[in-house]
Symmetry: C3
Subunit: 400 residues, 3 copies
């Protein structure tokens, strides 16, 4: 754990509720290290979908900051996660980003680990050596309807209760039967928190996202209000629950155990997040039609999804350095959808591609301004409530 906590304590104290975070949160190397160690390494992270590793031995790596996690389907068909750090002298055990393995053999001294993480043998380590003490460190795993969540902490945030409540709401989308149609990375020279905050509020949507703002009412609460009731009738018609589940920020049962579900209306004429409003892919799960809505889902503060009737989009804001972040966007469609018959990748990805390009630009300019010694955090708008919730959890977790 980091020792120099004076600066951290001073920074935390300098934050005024209802206002943006002060400069140091986005410019201090010490804060960045602490973010990884106390926030990211103790949060649930959405790393991928079960469809990426259908067979025993299938694996992929998920990297963030200085960390690397092996996500693997073991011999028994269970999804497991291990820290990708050899227990001998620390080498990465697995260096290919994905593949199929029978064993993980460290490329340095050939320590050999089973898919379960167990150390099979420590070559030439002498007779006093107990391999049982040197298995790969495990990470916790939850598979929520096909979405794989991982947490490297000893005691992860107790999100299970929230997920149980979320389960029937998401059920109709058949998330476990999706596949990743496309993944794109938008690197932005900014701290990861600015990228996440950008996602957590739609106050910027009207001025910044011309295309999104045409179809999504989230950008205008007054517009949305009138369209909610008609949407609810339509949602019921296609088999979707109409309740909102908000266990985020102050409503969360525990630190970083946030879950969120809300379906909100698109503007008239839009069946999904497409350029002209027409469908992009086959209907998800058990849905019987298009209701002209979109669902915001959050599984822990770091993992966000937007689910239309015919596809889902997942968003991650992965730290690579103090002011280096990868905005990762993943588009998911039904597993049995085939391109080009059932969908077209350029059409499917159009909206969130142009929107993410916008976001990269505005997040970058945000960081540039925040770097100024003259920056003073201003008041958050009502529409930025999601940021307040994030700050509350975040500040508690890094305080330790």
């Amino acid at each position: 754990m980091l020792q120099h906590t004076d600066e951290i304590a001073r920074l935390i104290q300098s934050h005024e509720e209802g206002f943006a975070l002060p400069r140091g949160f986005y410019t201090s190397a010490e804060i960045y290290d602490r973010d990884i160690e106390t926030y990211w390494n103790r949060s649930w992270l959405w790393v991928g979908h079960v469809s990426q590793i259908p067979e025993p031995g299938d694996y992929f790596l998920f990297d963030y900051g200085p960390e690397s996690i092996i996500v693997v389907r073991d011999r028994d068909g269970e999804v497991r996660a291990h820290l990708n750090v050899c227990r001998h002298r620390g080498s990465r055990v697995c260096v290919e980003p994905e593949g199929n393995a029978r064993l993980f053999v460290c490329p340095y001294h050939a320590w050999t680990f089973e898919l379960s993480g167990k150390l099979r043998s420590g070559r030439a380590m002498g007779k006093d050596f107990d391999p049982g003490q040197y298995g790969l460190f495990p990470a916790h795993v939850i598979v929520f309807q096909g979405l794989i969540l991982v947490c490297t902490a000893d005691t992860p945030p107790p999100i299970q209760d929230g997920l149980r409540k979320l389960a029937p709401l998401c059920e109709p989308f058949g998330l476990e039967n999706l596949k990743i149609a496309h993944k794109q990375v938008y690197p932005v020279p900014a701290n990861w928190k600015l990228a996440l905050e950008n996602y957590l509020e739609c106050y910027h949507c009207a001025p910044s996202h011309q295309e999104y703002a045409k179809s999504h009412t989230l950008k205008a609460p007054q517009d949305m209000e009138k369209l909610v009731e008609p949407l609810q009738r339509r949602s019921e018609g296609i088999g979707l629950p109409t309740v909102t589940l908000d266990q985020t920020g102050p409503n969360a049962p525990d630190l970083a155990a946030d879950v969120y579900y809300r379906r909100y209306p698109l503007y008239e004429g839009y069946q999904t997040g497409s350029r002209d409003g027409t469908p992009l892919a086959p209907l998800l799960g058990s849905l019987s039609g298009f209701d002209g809505g979109a669902t915001d889902v959050q599984l822990g503060p770091l993992n966000n999804f937007l689910i239309y009737s015919d596809h889902a989009v997942g968003y991650r804001f992965v730290p690579r350095g103090l002011q280096e972040t990868d905005i990762e966007v993943l588009w998911l469609v039904r597993a049995d959808a085939e391109e080009p018959k059932d969908y077209s990748t350029p059409d499917l990805t159009w909206l969130w591609h142009v929107t993410s390009l916008d976001d990269e630009r505005i997040i970058r300019h945000n960081q540039e301004g925040v770097n100024s010694y003259h920056f003073r955090p201003g008041p958050l708008a009502d529409m930025e409530w999601g940021i307040n919730g994030f700050y509350e959890t975040y500040l508690k977790m890094i305080r330790v």
Copy 2:
């Protein structure tokens, strides 16, 4: 304000008067941050010339370190400067380096500022929100004979008195009627102080600047001495005062309120800073001829000018990082001079282009050597008196 002042205090104490600064001043990230916060952000900075923004709404940005300033001519024709940092969540408000604007609309959430910096509206901020509290932070502005100086401190160095004394001396050059003929940037991997120190002494001119040393007597005090009196007679003849004004370092009335004026002789045969000594552009201001001299002018420690009879050259050493500095050189000629009739850019810029290339090289090697743990500051030569003056002011300002 920075908190970890132990290292700063120790460093300041380790400096011995009459000697170069110790290693840490050029290698410590903490010192660099402090330099920006306590020295640059409290000094007058020469950002440009009024000819760059003739019309209301015309603006340009001046960036240094992590800072960005909007310099704009407002509706009333006044030159103003604002911190380029939105008062909401800190985005850069203005992202184009220059242009003409009616309003500054923040690209993130569309907070809209008038040219005066006043916040016109904070969209959807609720009724308790007082836009009057959230205008852009202003920077102080002085326009000295067309040269725009800006300072972001609450209380800038009191330079006005010095400028009043300087005014009649500069008057004949007609500085307000110049235009920027050319600007060139020479990035050097060195701390900004090494770049500035290099400009502040001509002890290095003889060995390092073959071309400059051929024409400028500043490199050889013994040569200059003999030529001063004849120059003074010639200066009087063309309408130039012959006094020297030295309010720098210990002679400055206040911290960083330095001003300086001295005309010194070129070698025989040189009318201006050209390759062969012949004129480069139409005579400046009210001058009636060439006196074979050049004037060193300083407006605060950071802003240096060399004024020949037919053109002026401005120098800035803009910090971009701990060991990244842009040497910015700007060549100015009469506003009514036309190329190619009245001047040729390659000829005009020849001397200070080759000289700046030399400087980039020697400053780079200086930084490389100073990075050594074995570096011990040596004694300054008499010809390096300007560096002593800079140190005195600098050390007081960062001490805070």
Copy 3:
């Protein structure tokens, strides 16, 4: 000397004997600075061979971290070393990596130093200036059988006694009569200690170095054992001593005064470190034939050599930044060997080229894994005894 020693002390304390070093030793900028200041700047460094500077005035630079050393043969034919830092304002005095000089003239202000380091003149420094006080700082020099060792500390590690013992063992190789046939640099994004540790153990040789492992028994103690006695008979036959000299780690007479000599067997059929086992170059020194052995030599912990019967290879792991290291490999053959008649560079360098490419890869993956906050140092194998010895010295030296 660095002041913030709390982190250093805490890190040193966190190391458990017999285990790898903790994360901070490879990730902390403070440790890196300390490594240079207290370890590298107080260790003997192998900088080159006398054949590089045969004539008076011949010189080359040796750079590491922020340091630069001039190694020069003076007017009297002595090899000398000077810190490449001007005693005035710290510029590098010498900027060409090698050449012949009569004097070293600082490129900044022309302070002029003799080959002995003496300041000849401080131009225009006034009459109170004593040039005798401002010669280049000297570095200590030892020439051991043509290999030039340099140390920048006031009091270098007392290695002379060890070298005296080593001298008769190395004598038959005629090291003073070698020349550098080839030098290659393999940059690796890792801390220098990981690169050195990699060299100090052959536990990784079997899994990581297919080519090396085919010919060198060092990778398998049980194989080596059986071949030692036959080798000793052959070594005696060609005129080589068969003793082992191990004054490293706990056996060293003083801190960083380590020396090491051991000849070990190649596998049958290998006369030298070549692809097919056949000779690569003329026999070294006074050797009368090939004994099928190779000698590990260490001159201080940082300087490693592998001497075959017909060529020698030198290895250095030069820090360039916290996680930037140059693996430098130099191949040496008899001075009178001529290419292509007597040797072929591609053949000569084949083994250690492919082996160094392997090393670059595994050291890189080691650093990636060690960067994880989840890395916990594991136990060292018996075959990693050399690392234990290095740690012991290293931890004492940085403790200061």
